[in-house]
Symmetry: C2
Subunit: 113 residues, 2 copies
Amino acid sequence: MFEKKMRLDALYLFYGKMLTDKQNEIMDLFCNLDYSLGEISELNNISRQAVHDTIKRTEKVLENYENQLGLYERFSDKQKAFEKILQLIEEYETTHSESLILDVRKIIEKEIE
Amino acid sequence: MFEKKMRLDALYLFYGKMLTDKQNEIMDLFCNLDYSLGEISELNNISRQAVHDTIKRTEKVLENYENQLGLYERFSDKQKAFEKILQLIEEYETTHSESLILDVRKIIEKEIE
């Protein structure tokens, strides 16, 4: 559940600009400000079910953009590479093993090829 | 001119999936296969001017996606960070100056914050 919300937040950050104003209004409250369905329902004077349906529909729109473009996945892969490099650097700072620096180089060369 | 084509190639790679089949057909020849306008014109049995106009219109569509989403710019920034790290690693391999490893760490921490 938490991971699902994290993914929705990320997809909204990536593709939110492609949404309609109405979708954006609700998704901004839900994703960026972490409002509950009930709070969004009160604020917009619409039923909780309508909020739920809008979020579900918008999630499909965002997933569709990701299916088409796959840019969030590409971006996540880059982030993972940075995290791996950081881990190697931290290990190097403790052990001073030169082979770790070679491992860093290999990751980078793969990323920029 | 060369940089303009490089940018178009990159934007096509990023947002090409959002184009129509007809736009894709021409852009694939122009961007991925490096066909000239004349060659695309012959192959598709349309005028050189029509090919030119399609490419110009499609370029605007792609630039519009980039204006909205800015994902190519974000991606380029990541690539620049990888290139900078590689440069520091290469410098380290020559000088073995530990401060270069600290510089690598700073770049990564900025990227994954």
